[in-house]
Structures are given as structure tokens and as C-alpha cells.
């Protein structure tokens, strides 16, 4: 798993690649919470993510709860394949704002 952080409009863009599981979800958590501590809204780009488990999803839920408390946004973009199935199975697709791709976010 690797990730990189850049900017898109007024958002921080966290691009995840590969597989997120118990082995590495703490790294994603650290990065995500750092961004939110800076008071920035965040897009988590799933387009190159091949796998995410419940520890990864729990990290995103924690991030979403923090974002909501601080009037920030946490958006998931480009979910496909197994990660999209995880979002659907957990019903978290009804909780997160999900867009097809980062390019769909205009404002």
C-alpha cells in the first residue's frame, strides 16, 4: 500500500494505492487525522485502491466523525471493485459522500 497527499481545489486529496488492511491502516489513519487537524476537508481517492478491510473503513468512519464535528467534508472518490463492495456491504455507502471520480468535484 502507498499513499500520497496533494491538493484539489480547497480539498486535501489523499490518494490510496494497493491494499489497506490491519498491517498498514494505522499509517492511513495518521495521515487522515493530520489533514483534518489542519482544518482541511479531504477527498479520499479510491480509484487505485484494490482492497480495504474493516480496519481501513473504521479509520475513514473516525475521520468522517471528526470532519462532521468540525464542519469539514470527507468525500470518497473513484471507489470500484472490492472496496466498493465493502462500502455497500457495510452500508457505509449511505453514510459517506461518494463520487465517481475526483474530477466530479468542482467546488
Amino acid at each position: 500500500m502507498s499513499f500520497d497527499c496533494s491538493e484539489h481545489l480547497h480539498y486535501k486529496l489523499l490518494h490510496l494505492t494497493g491494499e489497506v488492511d490491519l498491517h498498514n491502516s494505522s499509517e492511513v489513519r495518521r495521515c487522515l487525522l493530520d489533514i483534518l487537524k489542519q482544518g482541511k476537508s479531504v477527498i479520499v481517492d479510491f480509484s487505485d485502491l484494490k482492497y480495504i478491510d474493516s480496519s481501513g473503513m473504521a479509520t475513514l468512519v473516525e475521520g468522517l466523525n471528526i470532519a462532521n464535528k468540525n464542519n469539514l467534508s470527507l468525500i470518497i472518490a473513484g471507489a470500484n471493485g472490492a472496496p466498493l463492495q465493502v462500502l455497500e456491504l457495510t452500508r457505509l455507502n449511505q453514510v459517506f459522500t461518494i463520487v465517481d471520480s475526483v474530477a466530479d468535484i468542482k467546488e
Binding site: E19, D21, H23, M57, L89, T90, V95
Partner: protein
């Protein structure tokens, strides 16, 4: 009823082994002709079970052993996950919250949604726990 063994393998309880466990379960599912979507969910359920073993049975200790046996009968594939830690409460496979926004139980919820049965078995002789999960085989042509 004929039983066929497809896999019997041991891994450590180090989270870095999860990736290889997923690869082995993917191979088994492909061998059984599950669809890609079904394979994804079965792999997820096994991964979640192993994650729970690492976190709650071995308490994040990395030198434990996780053994996975996979077999089939005429209707189902049977996954048996063995650990050799202290016995844990059967409550470990109960969903703690119905809200996906509350922490805890997400992995168990996934296991129960994906599998046709999930059963926790305490071994009487050598300690440890066995988690048995069954899934109907894909329908034939």
C-alpha cells in the same frame, strides 16, 4: 457425503501475513468457480476473521499461529480457522452495533453477511479456538 480438502496451511499472526492469506483464499475461490464479486466478499470475510484472531485472540502478538483448512462437501465450502491462543468469548462473533458509524463489530457484520453460517467452536483438549464458516458453492452450469 464426500469431502474434499482444498487447503491446509499455517501462517503467523503477524498482520503482514494477511496479504498472503488473501491470495490463497482467492486461489481457492477461483478453483471453485465463484464469480469475481463473490470471491472478493469471501476473501474479505476470511481476512476479517484473521484480523479478529490477531487482535482479540493473540492480542496483537505476532508469533501466534493461524491455521486455515478449506474443504468442500457437495453443497458448501467449509473454512475452518484455528488459533492456539486462550479461548475467547463467543460474544466475539456478535455484532456490537447496528450503526456502521459506531466503532466495533464491522468485521463480524461483514463475515455474517457474506457467509451462510459462522460458528465459533471451543476446543476442549488443546485450548485455542476454531471459527467455522460455510458458504454455498456456486451454482453449476
Amino acid at each position: 457425503m464426500n469431502k474434499s480438502k482444498l487447503l491446509s496451511k499455517k501462517w503467523t499472526s503477524c498482520p503482514s501475513d494477511l496479504s498472503d492469506i488473501r491470495k490463497n483464499i482467492t486461489d481457492v475461490c477461483q478453483q471453485l468457480a465463484y464469480s469475481e464479486q463473490q470471491t472478493n466478499t469471501i476473501v474479505l470475510a476470511i481476512d476479517e476473521a484473521c484480523t479478529n484472531i490477531i487482535r482479540y485472540a493473540y492480542k496483537d502478538c505476532r508469533d501466534g499461529v493461524i491455521q486455515i483448512d478449506v474443504s468442500t462437501n457437495q453443497q458448501q465450502v467449509i473454512f475452518k480457522l484455528y488459533d492456539f491462543a486462550k479461548q475467547v468469548s463467543k460474544d466475539c462473533i456478535k455484532v456490537k452495533s447496528s450503526s456502521p458509524l459506531k466503532p466495533g463489530g464491522l468485521g463480524v457484520m461483514l463475515m455474517q453477511q457474506v457467509m451462510d453460517s459462522v460458528e465459533f467452536i471451543h476446543t476442549k483438549d488443546c485450548g485455542g479456538n476454531i471459527l467455522e464458516m460455510k458458504k454455498d458453492l456456486p451454482e453449476g452450469d
